[in-house]
Structures are given as structure tokens and as C-alpha cells.
Symmetry: D3
Subunit: 315 residues, 6 copies
Amino acid sequence: MVTEPLVYLNGCMLPASRAHLKIYDAGVVMGATVTEQARTFHQRLYKLGEHLDRLFCSLRCASLDIDLSKADLAAISRELVAHHSGLLAGTAELGLIQFVTAGEYTAYAASTDPPPHPGPTVCVHTFPLPFERWARSLQTGAHLVTPSIRHVPPQCYDPKMKYRSRMHFYLADKEAQRVDPAATALLLDLHGNVTETAAANLLIMERGTLVSPPVVHILSGISRATLIDLAGKLGIPFCERALQVCDTQNADEAFLTSTPYCLMPVTKVNGTAIGNGQPGPVFRRLMQAWSEEVGLDIERQILEGAKRRCEEVTS
Amino acid sequence: MVTEPLVYLNGCMLPASRAHLKIYDAGVVMGATVTEQARTFHQRLYKLGEHLDRLFCSLRCASLDIDLSKADLAAISRELVAHHSGLLAGTAELGLIQFVTAGEYTAYAASTDPPPHPGPTVCVHTFPLPFERWARSLQTGAHLVTPSIRHVPPQCYDPKMKYRSRMHFYLADKEAQRVDPAATALLLDLHGNVTETAAANLLIMERGTLVSPPVVHILSGISRATLIDLAGKLGIPFCERALQVCDTQNADEAFLTSTPYCLMPVTKVNGTAIGNGQPGPVFRRLMQAWSEEVGLDIERQILEGAKRRCEEVTS
Amino acid sequence: MVTEPLVYLNGCMLPASRAHLKIYDAGVVMGATVTEQARTFHQRLYKLGEHLDRLFCSLRCASLDIDLSKADLAAISRELVAHHSGLLAGTAELGLIQFVTAGEYTAYAASTDPPPHPGPTVCVHTFPLPFERWARSLQTGAHLVTPSIRHVPPQCYDPKMKYRSRMHFYLADKEAQRVDPAATALLLDLHGNVTETAAANLLIMERGTLVSPPVVHILSGISRATLIDLAGKLGIPFCERALQVCDTQNADEAFLTSTPYCLMPVTKVNGTAIGNGQPGPVFRRLMQAWSEEVGLDIERQILEGAKRRCEEVTS
Amino acid sequence: MVTEPLVYLNGCMLPASRAHLKIYDAGVVMGATVTEQARTFHQRLYKLGEHLDRLFCSLRCASLDIDLSKADLAAISRELVAHHSGLLAGTAELGLIQFVTAGEYTAYAASTDPPPHPGPTVCVHTFPLPFERWARSLQTGAHLVTPSIRHVPPQCYDPKMKYRSRMHFYLADKEAQRVDPAATALLLDLHGNVTETAAANLLIMERGTLVSPPVVHILSGISRATLIDLAGKLGIPFCERALQVCDTQNADEAFLTSTPYCLMPVTKVNGTAIGNGQPGPVFRRLMQAWSEEVGLDIERQILEGAKRRCEEVTS
Amino acid sequence: MVTEPLVYLNGCMLPASRAHLKIYDAGVVMGATVTEQARTFHQRLYKLGEHLDRLFCSLRCASLDIDLSKADLAAISRELVAHHSGLLAGTAELGLIQFVTAGEYTAYAASTDPPPHPGPTVCVHTFPLPFERWARSLQTGAHLVTPSIRHVPPQCYDPKMKYRSRMHFYLADKEAQRVDPAATALLLDLHGNVTETAAANLLIMERGTLVSPPVVHILSGISRATLIDLAGKLGIPFCERALQVCDTQNADEAFLTSTPYCLMPVTKVNGTAIGNGQPGPVFRRLMQAWSEEVGLDIERQILEGAKRRCEEVTS
Amino acid sequence: MVTEPLVYLNGCMLPASRAHLKIYDAGVVMGATVTEQARTFHQRLYKLGEHLDRLFCSLRCASLDIDLSKADLAAISRELVAHHSGLLAGTAELGLIQFVTAGEYTAYAASTDPPPHPGPTVCVHTFPLPFERWARSLQTGAHLVTPSIRHVPPQCYDPKMKYRSRMHFYLADKEAQRVDPAATALLLDLHGNVTETAAANLLIMERGTLVSPPVVHILSGISRATLIDLAGKLGIPFCERALQVCDTQNADEAFLTSTPYCLMPVTKVNGTAIGNGQPGPVFRRLMQAWSEEVGLDIERQILEGAKRRCEEVTS
């Protein structure tokens, strides 16, 4: 039995240490890749169906045809998770990534290479959620900085398609971290409206209402949908509206929402404290509701997981 | 001795069949990659210095620091070419690719993985120029189609940095090929001005002058600079000016210029024939001047190389 | 009695064969024209009041003053329809066009011309609805293609004013038909959002809701209003939201709505099938509701009318 | 012999009083029309070749094919001018208009109509130049006002194609005339740069240099080219540069240039006097050079022609 | 006792005649100032809390820290009003202005100047409401004109922060008054949508609904909020939507709302009458509801106050 | 005799300590102000004529009429400088500021105020150049940071008019200083092109050519014109071109130029070193040429002046 995690790659289940991309795969050469990221709770995949639905939307937008159905990908995903979970302590949770590239760009192939894999490159892999990355921000709040670089507009490629040509996010985060090493870039669109970070949607609380930028310039996040749904159950109204930096700075609370950590308070935008500069009561209520839905204390799991990892490293 | 091409990857010279990227390299995960592509004439690298200068400009824009100097990369590049040339017939020419990604994105690493390579991923590799891809267009002219998708504007990421987050080019080419399977996408900028194709700069002849879009929205191509230089020697004036589709359709001639094939006539834009619909006299003069500079007949080499490849395949 | 249709032109009722515009009318010289198009059901004008209301809005936006009231134009319109209907078989239906130009541009008048008609040119005319144009698309669905040309933005002239300076629609349709001869152009606005076709509004079904682009960049269509109203009666919620190409491609269904044919299914956008690529169930329900409202089976009338016309031509 | 002017229309030479467009010609229905306007000096057409060249550029941009060559259109144009000149006093001059529409839009045809003319509608006609329209502005200078309406950007349709979908010019002039009944609208582009008026190009004198907006957002006027050429002969340097309203207000002089009157001084922009508020010395020099080129005093001809017309009307 | 109004300036209560700004205050040098304007009814401040809340939002957006709390500013404001009211007849009402600049720009200080006041400049002052300015427009309706100058977009500075860098409003009003001396400029945003005037929000009645441009490009006015609230109590639905000039011209009614006069009918936009060109019934109902809320007839107070002022001047 | 500097204000020469603006001057209330800043060399005003020419251009753009001629303002300016120089050591140099506001905004006047000064407020004042502010940057180079806030576009107000509604510059500098307390904001325009800083023009050296952004989005600086002129005398070619951040980062050298300090090297843009991170040879040559033109060593004067000031403060 394989004692390392498995990776699905173009029809094969490989040990993780043997899963690679060719240096001339279109994903490497052109960033021509769509992707999804899911996670487990209690080592079971959460909202896998929603992620697969969106993956197939992204594939359709990119005119990429794969010979796997949603059911195939679901089975593969569950198998990978089951195998990897078996290698880990019961307290760990996994992230799961599915990605599809436009296939091998054979013009760059070396002459001695074997014949290319036909069609798109399909890969599914798993990794232990790195709780230690979020523990600190979860307690004191994330810091956002708006860089001078702008988000790519939908007429170039639509952020509703989850793609991997993300150079602007990389440059934006570098720019934000020159202001504050702990900061994440909150990109503005070409008109100066607030959009999203590289890996999360932003929402704010404004006079009792949960407000999000409209989906035109952002990923239509599955965690975002969950959050809106949870808010509705708590009686918190929701609306979409073009938001500017001033709105986020004058919000009562602000959040990031993303698959791996669910919800994160934001306590600073461009150096200005949000509210009293601490995670707020709506954050607490929403996190608790989310925890109830998934049957575990999300925040505690992250904090304890981070502590364990820290102990492993130092021991 | 290794009987297959070598690839430089993060300090090692590997046989091509063993050169791979990790599935969680930042180049795969985010397209956070800058690159260069050079080629040989008579199996010697052409304008390597210019390509290295531009690579280091791109690295500076991306705030990527590598521990190799231009001289190091030049030596590596020449070694790879020498080795690969030794494996080929004397009539072949090589393309050379250098790329640098932001390194491994360790948050996605599997728990059993070895420690990551620190810092950016640096790769240099070679491939035989696929002459058969250009032979036909070289004789009858390339067809361009302007898709509805727009080029990413410089305030997102600057096309003067040669990057690989190129999803929009991929989508644009798909859109162009729905119009004409032989077509390449000529992207417009957000204001509707003509920019470039995925792999080439566009220039036109207009009343005796060679005209290019300004460098704001395009790669400042090394082949483009060579072309302008050759035109100057032939007494053809040059200017930069914002160009619209109408200008290209009413041009006397139009060209694509790119490292691997140097110069290509354009004979159709959005279905409208340019000039008389055939490669024109200025194309001939410029291609001849370029051939003289590099000491071989570029067009004939491509046509004969393509013919050879065709014979290999069918034999 | 006149045995050909009549045309109202600047105060006169003329036989259709004698109704012309001067070659220097402002409608010809500058496209300075506002217009309306209505149709009959059972040979009676449908929603004539709504069309007249919008015509007078357009006139106000264009600062055009005519010396006819809405009642005058209604009477003229009904008279033209009654006369033309008398010349046709009972199964035919009529289209009715009203247009007002800025009048004769006398600077271009020939010296021997009679004195110009003062003030705007007002014309009302009728024509048999060409059912044969829509029969095929009604059965298999319309194909839409987004061209590279963009819709004129409201700060140039507002699409809510129904005008005839429509060169961009003409060019856009040519561009779309190079992709697919059966396609209609779906224009994007300057930000890449979906707007409308030359003659119809677009709406989509998305997770049970009827969604339209906001009226900023589109004509506020009377058929569109009817559709929204019918949807409401069927319990289908409606909202407006900026839509991108991805949204239309991932819609459950998509429709065009326009005065002459009421409702048309869309089955392809940029080559991607919508839903299962066939007219969908919501289309059927809405078309049936519309048919009930007007007291005849709209779809069958078009299909049978087209068949008759086809037989006339071949016989 | 015909004692009224002739008009060429779709292959026929008709008396002017019998030349009309169908009410459903695409030029009427959609403004889908390209056009040229030339004029005579000494009753001979001036720069006819340049106008025909540009007409064929416009046709190519609009994908309109006509079955007439440039030589055919030149012969027709000269014949119309010769005939019309024979009917006029020797002091008159003619304007000549060529226009091509996308043809009859048969969907709107009445059932009793004769078969449509196939292909585009081609029309050429002449008219006596209305000198009285320009006499006053020529003496005291034109007034320009920038309206809130913007010029249509090239990504909708390119102003380098001389088209007739000009609703925005009509609305802009109305807006300008609310400020000053003698004013003409100077349209700004979407970025607020100065472009052109409905019928003329704008140029300014700035510290000894003749400056024009770049051709991106304006018609590449034949009179503009003549003016630049004349300026060169007088030793006045020329450049293109994006101009804003401030630049025109602080110019030493400003001009309009257009086929029928050649050159017109501008003395006011948005109520601010240009220079000392009078036609300036460079205007005088350029007008004189132009007069010498065409062999008559252009300004005097306009003023005397206007006086004659005035006397005719009052006698 | 001081017999002239007092002004609060940087910690001191000064007689109005001695309250000045240094010529090198940042408010003078850079317009780096945020502000609020409130008013009294029955000589008591109306919605002071809302104004202070917004002032502190503006301060946060501008990163200006002052050492006064909201309570401090409220106390100062009330004291100024009480003192000034004591100097006036009982029929007068006061305007109250609070402004905070970025402090003294000491680089421009003269060498002999005393040490600068540290930190921001804080000023509060009062003035009798100049009813005579509004009486006429209140009776016959305000006239709006859209100038060619555009509103500053939020990515430069956000209109939701009440700032005093208002050069564009000044230039816009000058432009509007060239059309109509009684007109106020209604600025368009960069996309041609309607925004606001220098001192008021615009709202329209459209088919029974009160419609406002979205708050992205406008001040989130306190009077606007009051108006929406009053409308709700009268059963008038409200929505936000991007509005163009055509929409305002075809509105049933249009209003300006602003702190000093509360509500003003708009009867002309760009020379086109709104509705029947008279203040409409919804204006009357809203003005009455507002009057009831504040316990006096707002319109009558303005008209009578204006009449008194007129009599003072002429007597 | 007055022993403090004098200030010209609305017709009076006042001691500096008595020169103030009313709190309701339009310059305070609306930032409706145009301005100039000149300086002395050897205590004589440098290029006063050019500054006055530009002031009158700005006045014309703002439609502000003052009753002073250029000669009047020149005389006033010289008188102020002569007086202030007499109060200073011979080593000091003066800055001179002229500004004109739209006058008193009387609607905000207190009832007891004296009658307002009619017409615009005109002020001229002087101050010792604060050499200590520039000494450090002159030696080690200025640091620039591009903030997320964008420069106000010319269609709002044209940067070629030197105005004081500069809130965006204030906010931009705050944003830049969060990255690097020593940094100055380099604003981008709405398209992401480099423009200017709050008080200086930027130029770069690129392959031997001095390059500036085009004047569309920047002040047409008098120091900038001097620099271009000096470069020409040294044989350094000059051109204007849209520049992006990448261009500045890859420049050989970069400079700021501004009236008070003439020329400043830039050594960092967004944290990336320019060239070798030190002031470069072209900077030295240009500074020397400038020093020769004005007859003193500009850099040494600044460094020694700063040292003196430092000694004064610490002694």
C-alpha cells in the first residue's frame, strides 16, 4: 500500500512524489488553467457538488472539454481524500484541488519526448490544511491594503471563471506587503471599486446589513454563498452594491470568506482600523453558525491545529 | 553521455525526460512566471544578450530575485544549445526558453514531500523549431481576427514584462478560430486599439512608413526592434501610432514579427484582404535583409525544414 | 380605392410606391431619426399606446417637436393598418413603423428643388410580418456571437432613445456572421458587459430567476416589459444585473424578445450550447402565456405563416 | 435636355426632382451609410482622387462591395458637375456628395413593392455651395462649445471611416446652440480630449506650431491634410498631440478645416476668446496660400457669393 | 458680551470678524479639507448627530485625527447657534459649518511667523440662512444643465467623503450658467451617468417610484436619507439605479435635496421641461411631510424670509 | 519700516502676520484657486515671466478675471522679494507664491461682516526656501511609491491649469508614506500611466534619451521645460511617451523637477532601485548645467542652507 498521498493525473493515480507537470504544459506556458479548491470537515469533503458545478462552468467558459463526468471527478476526489486521511491523525483536515489545463503545448516539446497526452491535463490532489497560516489573523483580524495594481476586468477574463492566470494577484500581494508584511492585497477594479483578494471574497457589515461587491468583478464564491445563507438564517439582510475603500473603512465589521478557513475578520484597511479594530460580534455569530453547520468549532480547530504544528516544528 | 536534450532546472542539468514542475509550483498555481524565448541561426543563439536584458527587466518588475547573473544564464543557455545541437542534424535550429516562477507554493504541498526548493524556480530548456507550423502562413499570409475579448491593460500587468498569465490569449485564439480555423487573434486594448497576438508584434506599412502600435499595450519585442532597425537601413521610415482595425485593413501591407520565424506577412484582417491579399514587396525586402543579417535564407529554411518534417511523418 | 398599402408622410397619405425620402433628408444624411415599431395580432395593433409613449420620450430626448399628438399618430396608425389589412389574407399580420427625422438638410438641396417641408419628417408605414425570417430560429434557437465592436455608450447617445444611427449594429452583425452565418451579434458595452442585439433584448434564466442586463445600456423594450410581466404572473422572479458572456453561457435558458416575434429561444453563445442546446421549458411556458394574452398561438402562427410564404415562393 | 441637376442613383442618371430613397433603405433604417463630400474650384472637382481613395477605404471597413470602380465613380462625378455647372452662373461652385448605403432592408418592404435593387444603394449628387452659411463666421470667427455628449469611440465605429450614423453630432450641436445660437459643437472623446465638429477638423497654433488631435478619434480629413501640407510649405511645423479644452483656449489661433469652405478661424471656445478674439495672422497666411493653390481668392468668393445670395433673396 | 457671531477655531471662540485662516493653511494650499453643513429649525440644530457621524467618517477616510470628540463638537456647535440666535430676530434660521483641514503647511510660512498650530485646523461657524437665494427656484423650479466637465471619480477621491477640493463643481457651474444664468450644473460621471450638483442630491419620480443614482458617485446626503424616509412613510417606493440624462428628461418629477432648503423642484434639464414644467404633486406632498416633521412650513419660511430680506435691502 | 515680510492681498501690502483669508473665501470653501510658485536665485526672481504667462493661462481656463495686468503682478512680486530679502541673510533664497481664488462665498458670511471684497481674491506672498527639506533626498535620491488613488483626469479638471483642489495629492502622499515614510506619491492616471507627484514632474533616462509622460495628464512645468532645454544643450535627446511603472523601474536614471529645488534624483520606485540605486551621471551633468545657468551651485546651496538651518535649530 502506498504510504504517501496519491495524486490523480491524466487518468492515473500516482504517489504524490511522482506527480509532476511537463515544463511545456499549457498550464505552465500560458496559465491556461481552471481550478477548484474544496476542503474537508471531519475528513469528509464539504460542498463537493457545488465545487464540481462551478468547475464545469469554468470549463465551459474556457471551451475546455474533458472526458470525465462530475461523478467521475467526485469519485476520484473522495478516493484521494480517503487515502490521504488514512495517513493522517484524526485531527487533520485536507484541502482538495482540482485543476484542468489546456494540455501540453507540443511546439515546445523536446524531440526525444514521448508522444503527448492528448487533450487537457486533469489533476486532482490533496494537502493538509495549513492551519498555522490563519491562526494569527483569525484572532487579531486580517489587514488589507489596496495596491496600485488593478484587478483584471471581465472583458479580459471573467473572475467568475476560477482561473490561474493570476500574475496580478501575485504582484498585488507584493505591493501590499511593502506597506505591511502581514497584509493581503484587496484589489480595486478599473473604476476603483473594491473587488476581492487573491484567495477570498470580502463582505462588510453596514448598518446591520451584510454587503458584498456585485459579482461582476469577483469570483462567485461558494463560501460567500454559504455566508450569505447563514446570515439569512440569523436574520441579517444581504445586498450587493459597488463598494469603495471609504465604505470598507467606515464599515461596522468586515470579513474575508474562503474555502479553507471559512471566515476571517478584517480589522484594518489601508492602515485604518475597522470599527474598534477587533473582530466584531457579527463575525462571532456567523462563525458560530458555520461551526454548527459543519459540526465542529472551526475557529478552535484552526487555533489548535496551528498550535500542534508549531509544537511539531519546535520539538 | 546523455543522448537526450538537457534541461536546466534550479541548479541542475537534467535529461529532458526528467525535467518537471511540481504541481504546486507558483508557475502552475498562479501563472506567476516571467519568461524569454530565443532561437538559433546556424545553431548559435541570436541576440541572447538582448533577451537576457529583457528577462532581468521582467524580473525587476515582478520583484523576483534569482541568484544567477546574466553571464551565468548565458553560459547555461549556450551549453544547452551546444548539447542539443549535437543530437540533431545540421539543418535543425533550436528554440531556447528561459523562465522563472515565484517558486513553490508550499501551502499546497503534500505532507510527505521533501523540503521545497527555496526561492524562485529557474528553468532553461531547448526544442527544435517547429518549422512546419509556419510554412503555410509564410507563403499565403497569416489571417488575423479581432476577438471580443480585450488585452489585459498595463495597470493590471504590463505587457512590457514578458509574463505567462496568458489565459486571455488562449481564450482569444479560441474565439478567433471559430471565425477562421487558420486565424490568430489580434487583441484590442480596452479602448479598441490594436495591440498584438499571443506570440507576435504587429506592424503595418502605410503610405511608405512602417507603423507600430505604441509600446504601452504591447511587448517591446526584440524581433520588432530588429525589424525597425532593418527597415531604417532600407530607408523605410518608422513611427508609432495608435492603430485601429480600419487602419490595418487599409494598410498596404501588414506583418507579424516574432523570435522563432522572424517575419510573417498578414493577408487578412477580419476577413478583409490586406492590399491585394498576397505577401507584398516590403515583406520580401525586409525578409531578405533579415536573412542577410543572419547569414541564411530564413524563409527557405522554414519551407525546407517543414518539408523535411512532413516527409519524416509520412515516411 | 387604392389597391396598394398607404404610407403617411408629412401630412399626406400616399400609395406605398410613391412614398420616398429626399436624398438630403436628415435621416439619410445624419441618421438623425427616432423610431418605433409595433405589430398586430388578429390584425389589430398591440400595445400601440406604449409605443407612442416611448416615441414621445425619444422625441423629447432628441429635442424634436412635431405637430402631431399621440392621438393623431394613433389614428393614422390604425387607419394604415385597417387599409393594409383589407388588402391581405386574414392570416397575415402587419408590422407598423413610425419614424421622425430632423427634417430636410437644405444645405444639400439642388437649386431647382421645391421649397423644403418645414420641420421634422414624420413617416408611418406598414408591412406584412415576414414570418419566414424567424421560423427556423424559433424551432432550433438563435445563435449569438459577441463581436469585437462595442455598443455605443449612453454618453454618446442613450440606447433608451430608440434611434436609427445604427452603423455599429450593422458592422457587428457582419462580424458575427463571419463566425456563423446564422448568428446575430450580441453587443458588449465598453466594460464588456452583455447588452442587446440590433433588434432584440436578451434575458436569461439563472437558477429559477429571469435576469436582464440593467436598462442603462439597452433599449427599455416593450416586449421586454411584457415578458417580465408574464414571468411575474407565472411566479418567476425577475432581477436586473450586469451580465457577462460567462453568465449567458452558463444560463439554464436564454431568450431574445422583440416586437415582431415576441420571444425566441437562444441555444448558442459564442459556439457554446446553452443548457442542453434546445429551447427549454421556461421558453415554452412564457410563449404559451404570451399566446394566451394575445389570443392566438404565436409560435404556430409564425411557423404556418413561414410555410405559406415558402409555398408561395416555390409555387 | 434636362434643365435641372442630375443625380446618379443605382445605375441611373435621374433629374434631381425624381431622385429619392425608399423609406426602408438601410441608409434610412440603420444609418448604415458611408459617404464623401468634394467641391469644385472654377467648377472643376478638387482632389477627387483623394476623396475616392477614402471612400473605398470606408467601403472596405464597412465590408460593402459595389460594382463600380474608382474610375467609374470619377466619370459619373465629373459628368454630374459638368451638367449642373452648365445650369449655373459662372461664379457658382458645386458641392458633390457620394454615398453608399447597405441597400434595401427588404423585411420592411410593402407586399406590393417591386423587387428590390440588389446590393448597396449608390448615389452621387451635386448642390450649389451655400456660401451664405459661412460668410459671417469667416469674418468674425466660429464659436465652439464642448457639449456634455461625447464622440462615439473607435471601438464602436471608427471616425476614420466617413459614416452617416451621426445622431450624436446632431444632439451635440443642439446642446451647443443652447449656449450660443451661433456655436458649433466641438465634441470631446470619452477621455475628455478634443476631437472634431460634425463637419470639420480642428487645429490650433501653439507657440508657432500647428497642432492637431491625433487621428485616432477624428476623421483623417482631406482638407486637414491640405492644410498641414500648406503649413509645411510656409515653414510652419506640425505635430499631433492629445488636446484638451484648456489647450484650445490658450492657443494663439484655432481653425476649422472642411471641404466646402477650406479654412475658418475659431475665435471662441466655451465663451473664452482665443488670442485677441479676432481671426489671426496665421489664418490669413494659410488662407492666402490655399487661395493661390486653387487659383482664386477663397474668402472673397465666399463673401461675394453670400452677398449675391442675400440680394437674390431680398430682391 | 460679544455682539457679533462667534466662530470656533482651533480651540478658541472668536468674534466672527477675527476668525481667519492663514494663507498657508492646507485648506487654502491644497483644498485638503473635509466639512459638514447643518441647519436649524426653530433655531435648533437639525440632525446634528447624523452630520457628526458623517464628519467622522470623512475624517477617517482622510486619515485626519482631531482631539475633539463628537460630543465636544456637538457642544461647540450648539453654543455657537445659541449665541448667534440671540443676536437675530426669531424668524431667522442658521446654517452651521464644521470643517477640518490638514493643518498649516509650514513650508510656506514666513520666517517671522509664530510657531504653527499643531495638527489639523478645526473650525465651526454659523451664518443666517440666505432664504432669498432659493425663493425663486422653489416657486418655479430649478434648471439643471449637464456640463462637458465630469465629476471626479471615486478612485481619485470618493464623493462619499464630504471634501472641499471642488474646483470641478466651480467650473461646471460656470459652464452651466453660460447656457442659462439661472441654471445649476448637474455633473455626469465618467460613464455619462447623472450624479449630483455642487450642493445637492438629485432624485426623480418615475412611474410612481422615487429613484436616485446609486451612492457610488454621489454624496450620501443626509437630506437625501430624510427624503427617502419621508417617501417611505407616504407609501412611495424607492430604488437606486444608474440614471442618464434621458431618464431625468422623461421623469414625472425631479427634485434637488440639500440641507439648507430641504427640497427643491427641478423643472428643466438641458432646456427640456420636466413633466408639465411646473413643480409637481409629489414635490408638494414631500415638502408638506417634511414641514410636519420639523414643525414649520419650510416653503413659506423661505418665501417670507426672502421677502423680508428683499424689503430690508430696498428700504 | 515694516520688519516682517509683506504680503499682497486684494490691493493692500500687509505685514505677513496680518495676512489672512476669510473662512468663507471660495479658496477655503471650494478650493477654487489657481496658483503659481516661483523662486529666486541670488535673491532675484527666476523665470517670473513664464510663471505669469502660465498664471494667466490658468485664469483663462478658470474664467477668472482679475484687474491686475502681468506687469502689475510682476511689480508686486519684485517688491515683495526686495522687501523680504532685505530682512534676510544674503545666503537665503525666497519662494514666491501667487494665488487667485474665486472670491468670497458670501452665502456663508456672518450677518455682521463688512461688505465683501468684490471679485476674485488675489494674494502674493514670499517665504524662505526650506532647503533642509530637500538636502537628504538630493544626496541619496527620492523614493516614489504609486498609491492606489489615481490622478484626477483632465475631463474633471485639467492638470495643465495649476489649481489647488488637491485633496487627491494629499491622500496619495499619505498612502505612499504608509509604505515608506520618506516616500512621495507618484500618481497614476486612470489608465495606469505614470503622471506626476504633488509638486514635481517626473522624467526618466532610457537608453540615452530623456523621456517624459505626455503633457495630457501632468502640469506643463516650467522647471520641466528648463530641464528639457538644458538636456538639448547637452546633446541629450528628448521625447514624450506614455510611461508605466515598469518603465520607471527599468530606467537608467529618474528625476523629479520642480521650481524650488530644480532637480532631484529618484533612486527607488515601489521599493525597486533605479539603476544602481544612486544618483547617476546624467543627474550630475544636468544639475551642473542648471547651476551654470543660474550662476550658483544649486546643490551646494541647498546642502549648506540645510546645514545652517540645522545649526540654528540645535544651537
